[in-house]
Symmetry: C2
């Protein structure tokens, strides 16, 4: 362990090197990586892990989520997914905790002829990017997952799209960050002037909008958790993603019997669970995998993803504030993007040099789109750090 | 108030007149009625109101629930529903609590042509019994409930089928019973020998089977609670019952915005909520009333109704044990049957004379169908009360 020993109490009279605002997976991973490099790190969050990650499914799916018109995002997703195996090993080692990391791969399916046609257009695009997508014959599909409904018309395999359990990931990251010496402060930060550190990292999810003025908006997602009856494991092993009568849906099986069934994507900022969304999810899930009808419905929740105008995260220095780095706007990709975000932001903090991977995701791509709340009273009093951050390379 | 004043502490050294086992609505109403007549009453229940009533919808629907082959049950349902207005008034007076008693009536509808044909067969039967069922023209149906789906093919009105809120009813009954002098003992009764009173009333719902040997079995029901968005009242006033693609379903609107959507009828004894049941209920509910899709889904629960071989309750003395009265097996009708059960059992306790209404529901109609657990050790030591109960008149 390269960080400060937990037996050396953090001296809060000394100004920290890094203050991270937000203790979701992104903020905690950044804190872990920075503390492991010997930096003094504080993390501010009144309720660690209570944001989007608390309801996330944990799919690590750069291939299945490679959509038309998002090539730069796809590149980042692939780069992060490639880091996941080593990241999981390191984190398990550092925390002593299981993460539910599974590598059976992802099946992409279409229920009806129309669903399959839609899916095939996407697979062709993904194959055009040389991504590992293997269309399966119906018999091959059933050999892999006999529990799929006979009605399912066709599918393809994305063998490198894996999964992790976000509800195990967050406590593991918290343990690892604290063992490396990071200090968690259970307080909300309402303005950046309340934070005193050489570098501030805003990893506050949807809360980043109020802190930075960046165009981060809440995107509601409703999601269900089912459980196989009698304590059994689910009757399928792959992550299953598909279209069912036009409804996009995914099913994530956990070893302990849980199945995550999600998720809606709604331009709303409330977190109520609605009858219509639960109906749509259950109908699509049961249509694809009939045995789900016999599963216990143990949870129906809604969360808010931090969305951005181009669906891509916002990573790097805030315009005019080189001492403030943002790591937010991960939308539906926060879990898969955790390793690359943590590594590159820690590099930026440590070396002042931004990796070229970050270039498309710089905050200044939205320059002029919103007022600057950092110009509020007190912001002018903040020190500018004595190292300069190179914002592009 | 004719009962014992709550300021006169109950002397537990004196043998009670009546011990009621079970503090659901049936047991509490019996306790209230008996205590109001000056009897010393104790009620045993470790968790009052935690049985079937906790999930019940509270429909008072003797007409809509008048089914083929259940004429004696229908008679009892009608007799009890007729007592409900006065019962509600008295209980509100005695408890000072609201009951959510509403009299807008019940609409019975059919979604498809097949559903309507099925419904019409039942309405014809109900009209043949001279029950108040008024078929409505489609325009009349929409005038009454504009929120009904345009697809709904037809309906009928049962103006005398009302509703009450069971979650308000139980605390009101508890207050009324205690104010009348009844004493609640928060202990489970595992054998009748643990109870010492002149008369024991078994109102333990599904628990009556183990106590009496009577053929009471759990019948699982899954039920949802929705809430109109923004704190509004639901967009409909009647209780709506119907068939939707063959699925029987009901919707009960409450003044506070709640809508109860139920219910499955399953020959199972677990209380898990299953994905398939929630899907069926939501699909049927939204098909009948599309605006429900926008409602919050606030609760999905399962409860166990006390069912009997003939779907009718078991009311009266246990064979061979004139000191033990049963009031159980109310199945799907516990709320509507509360007043008549309480009145007639209290009469029987007080006078020893059984009302003729009780005759079809005597426990001895199942004589010989089950072993007699009251013959277990200790039962022979019980006193037989010095008044004899006339079991038939």
């Amino acid at each position: 362990m390269t960080g400060r020993s937990p037996s050396t109490p953090f001296d809060d009279r000394v100004r920290p090197d890094v203050a991270v605002v937000g203790a979701g997976p992104i903020g905690l991973a950044i804190a872990w990586r920075c503390a492991s490099r010997g930096l003094r790190v504080v993390v501010h969050d009144p309720a660690p892990g209570s944001g989007a990650s608390a309801v996330a499914a944990g799919m690590l799916s750069p291939v299945a989520e490679a959509y038309f018109g998002e090539r730069q995002l796809t590149g980042l997703l692939l780069a992060s997914a490639a880091r996941w195996p080593a990241f999981a090993d390191e984190l398990t080692e550092a925390s002593g905790a299981e993460l539910g990391y599974r590598t059976e791969g992802t099946l992409m399916v279409g229920l009806t002829g129309d669903d399959l046609a839609e899916a095939r257009r996407l697979w062709a695009y993904q194959q055009g990017l040389d991504l590992p997508v293997t269309p399966l014959r119906p018999t091959e599909l059933r050999d892999r997952e006999p529990a799929l409904a006979p009605r399912v018309r066709g599918g393809a395999l994305a063998p490198t799209d894996h999964q992790v359990d976000p509800r195990l990931l967050v406590p593991a990251l918290r343990t690892a960050a604290q063992r490396a010496g990071a200090v968690l402060v259970p307080q909300a930060v309402r303005h950046l002037s309340e934070v005193d550190a050489r570098v501030t990292v805003v990893a506050a999810g949807c809360g980043a909008a109020a802190l930075t003025g960046l165009p981060v908006r809440p995107v509601k997602g409703q999601i269900l958790r089912l459980r196989a009856p009698g304590g059994a494991a689910p009757g399928f092993r792959h992550v299953i993603r598909g279209y069912a009568d036009g409804e996009p849906v995914y099913l994530v099986p956990r070893a302990d019997g849980e199945v995550v069934l999600g998720a809606t994507v709604e331009e709303r900022s409330d977190t109520t669970v609605t009858a219509g969304a639960v109906l749509r999810l259950l109908r699509a899930g049961v249509d694809l995998l009939p045995e789900l009808a016999e599963y216990d419905l143990v949870e129906a929740v809604a969360g808010l993803r931090p969305g951005t105008p181009d669906n891509a995260p916002i990573l790097g220095p805030l315009p005019g504030r080189p001492d403030v780095l943002t790591a937010t706007g991960h939308h539906r990709h926060g879990i898969v993007l955790t390793p690359v975000t943590a590594d590159l932001i820690a590099d930026l903090v440590t070396t002042g040099v931004a990796d070229p991977l970050l270039t498309p995701f710089r905050p200044d791509r939205f320059a002029g789109t919103a007022p600057d709340p950092t110009a509020a009273p007190g912001a002018a009093d903040l020190d500018v750090p004595d190292h300069t951050l190179e914002e592009d390379s």
